[in-house]
């Protein structure tokens, strides 16, 4: 009997073990980016901007021209790259500490200018690489190494919903929040990431995909329990969906 593969391993994804912890969903997000670039046929004209955090090593897993940005500055670096090489497909890959805290100014203004770049924002509600400290996205009541009693609204404020903020800015052509906790959600995430790159390719404006992801190690949960937490705690606060779609707006 002949085996027919139902999916292909994208060539741009380097075949090697990752440094990510068991149950971490960066690997899925990496693969979805790789598949989107491959499907659109733009791998050879893509320039990646890696950020600070666990995903700084993006360049160990995606065989792309890549520049490493200082903490939070990836959208500014991507702006420089795109202005210098407008023909390139440019994306940043950032975590929630990087993008929603130290990099808040850079992401807001990059989106607002409508830079023709794509931002993949992986939200796992903690600073992963530095040991699980509180992030701007940490859920209320969630215990971290810097809010050991649980995040408190009165003291630390509410978790920031980035996709909703980005969608409200004038330069944003496409903005969605997805999760990769179920097969169905992975398929939706794949479509959203592909859409985001397609909008850049079409020169429509800034595109943004927030990917809800696990951090079992810093959540002190097993991979299975961490995956369940995405559905039970994250999605209720960070609703999935498309928050801006300029093509849809045009159709109305």
């Amino acid at each position: 009997m002949q085996e027919i593969p139902v999916t292909r391993y994208p060539e741009v994804l380097i075949d090697r073990p990752t440094h990510y912890c068991p149950g971490c969903q960066h690997g899925i997000a990496h693969r979805l980016v790789a598949e989107a670039l491959t499907d659109l046929g733009v791998v050879e004209r893509t320039i990646a901007v890696s950020s600070i955090g666990c995903s700084v090593f993006l360049y160990n897993y995606l065989n792309l021209d890549t520049v490493e940005a200082p903490h939070g500055r990836a959208p500014a670096v991507a702006t420089g790259v795109k202005r210098a090489r407008p023909e390139a497909i440019v994306f940043t890959y950032q975590g929630d500490g990087d993008l929603a805290s130290i990099g808040m100014a850079e992401i807001i203004h990059c989106a607002n200018r409508g830079e023709r770049v794509t931002v993949i924002f992986v939200n796992n509600t903690v600073y992963g690489m530095t040991g699980g400290q509180m992030a701007p996205t940490t859920l209320l009541g969630q215990k971290t190494t810097t809010c050991p009693g649980g995040r408190c609204l009165e003291r630390e404020g509410a978790p920031i919903r980035m996709a909703e903020i980005i969608a409200s800015l004038g330069g944003t052509a496409y903005c969605a929040r997805v999760a990769v906790n179920t097969v169905k959600n992975v398929m939706r995430a794949k479509k959203a990431i592909r859409n985001a790159f397609q909008y850049q390719l079409d020169g429509k404006g800034f595109s943004f995909v927030e990917v809800l992801a696990t951090c079992p190690t810093n959540w002190r949960l097993s991979p299975t329990a961490a995956n369940e937490r995405v559905a039970t705690e994250m999605i209720p606060y960070f609703p999935l969906g498309t928050f801006q779609d300029c093509a849809a707006t045009e159709e109305v």
Binding site: I47, V56, P70, A76, V81, R83, A84, E106
Partner: protein, 351 residues
């Protein structure tokens, strides 16, 4: 015969950058350098370049990093408080070996200081400025013509060494108007950048421009290689020597202060005093050899700066084991005239 233009220092730098083939400029408003972004916002797009007013100096410098990674000639400009904010990106650029030009029209500090001229940023400029063990090339023009010429040179050096280059002026240089002959640069593109810059990985493995080196020994190796590069930059050191051959006392001053001190030296010469001037044009690499030779020839030294004494450390290092340098600091907050330097020079001469 090329045209003569009557230009402010800021505009001369902006025009020179375009002449040098600059493709991208990123800026943020701050006095006293606003003429640069204002001029470029209209003139750069006319030649097909990209002008971006960034949301902060932090973002402007990181945009510079991104454009530099693509191997194009790119620049940002600011003044002291803004340059402090740029140090993060400058450190990353040095670590990732990215070429870019950063203009600092030095104003008074610390903190908000004032908007007038100062040389308070000498240490920040010549010691790297940000975190880590690195250096940037530092060019310090004293005239508007020199500002034009050194801007052309800055782009050349940035790509020759794959390193950030700082053009260090001050509020005097940025705001004063002088005639300029706009020279035509020999080179306006850098084809050799194609061997390392980001273009999209076509028929080759992806390139990574980074400053993170975690493997055992990798960072030490990287820093050793950078150190060799900084050593090689020594050949770029430049200074103007003025009437030093028979001088008893050599005044050392840079930038617009060097230019004002030159007028004082001229005046004192006319009165029969044997005084000369060395005006460092590169602050890193510092023109150590020139000063050391003069020290060995028996000269005495007086360093004059528009600060509390920063470059004087480098002068002392240059002449150590032979002699020392006296120091006179004119403090920011008021503009010095040649007369202000007469008494300190005569005092150092022993009169």
């Amino acid at each position: 015969m090329s045209e003569r233009l009557f230009l402010k220092g800021n505009e001369a730098i902006a025009r020179a950058a375009i002449a040098a083939g600059m493709r991208c400029y990123f800026g943020y408003p701050i006095t006293p350098q606003n003429d640069i972004p204002e001029f470029l916002s209209t003139e750069l797009p006319k030649v097909g370049g990209e002008f971006v007013q960034a949301e902060s100096e932090i973002a402007a410098a990181n945009m510079l990093l991104g454009a530099a990674a693509c191997g194009v000639r790119a620049m940002t400009s600011s003044s002291s408080p803004g340059i402090s904010l740029m140090q993060e990106a400058i450190s990353y650029m040095a670590g990732s070996e990215l070429p870019g030009v950063i203009v600092n029209m030095n104003r008074g500090g610390p903190g908000l200081g004032d908007i007038g001229p100062s040389q308070g940023d000498y240490f920040q400029s010549t010691r790297g400025g940000g975190h880590g063990d690195y250096r940037t090339l530092v060019l310090a023009p004293g005239t508007v013509q020199e500002a034009y010429d050194l801007t052309l040179l800055a782009f050349e050096l940035a790509f020759r060494y794959r390193n950030p280059v700082l053009l260090l002026g001050d509020a005097i240089l940025g705001q004063m108007k002088e005639p300029v002959t706009p020279r035509v640069p020999q080179q306006t593109t850098d084809p050799e950048a194609e061997t390392w810059c980001l273009t999209g990985a076509v028929q080759r493995p992806g390139r990574v421009l980074k400053s993170l080196f975690l493997d055992d020994g990798a960072l030490a190796e990287h820093n050793t290689r950078l150190a060799a590069k900084y050593q090689a930059m020594e050949t770029e050191s430049r200074a103007e020597s003025f009437l030093v051959d028979d001088a008893q006392l050599v005044v050392v001053a840079y930038g617009s202060i060097g230019r004002i001190a030159k007028s004082t030296v001229r005046k004192l010469r006319a009165a029969g005093h044997r005084v000369g001037l060395v005006r460092p044009i590169t602050l890193f690499p510092f023109p150590t050899a020139i000063l050391r030779d003069l020290a060995l020839a028996g000269k005495r030294f007086l360093t004059i700066e528009h600060n509390l004494g920063q470059m004087v450390d480098d002068v002392r290092l240059a002449v150590r084991t032979v002699t020392d340098s006296a120091f006179y600091g004119h403090l920011p907050g008021n503009l010095p005239t040649p007369n202000d330097f007469e008494a300190p020079i005569l005092a150092a001469l022993g009169h």
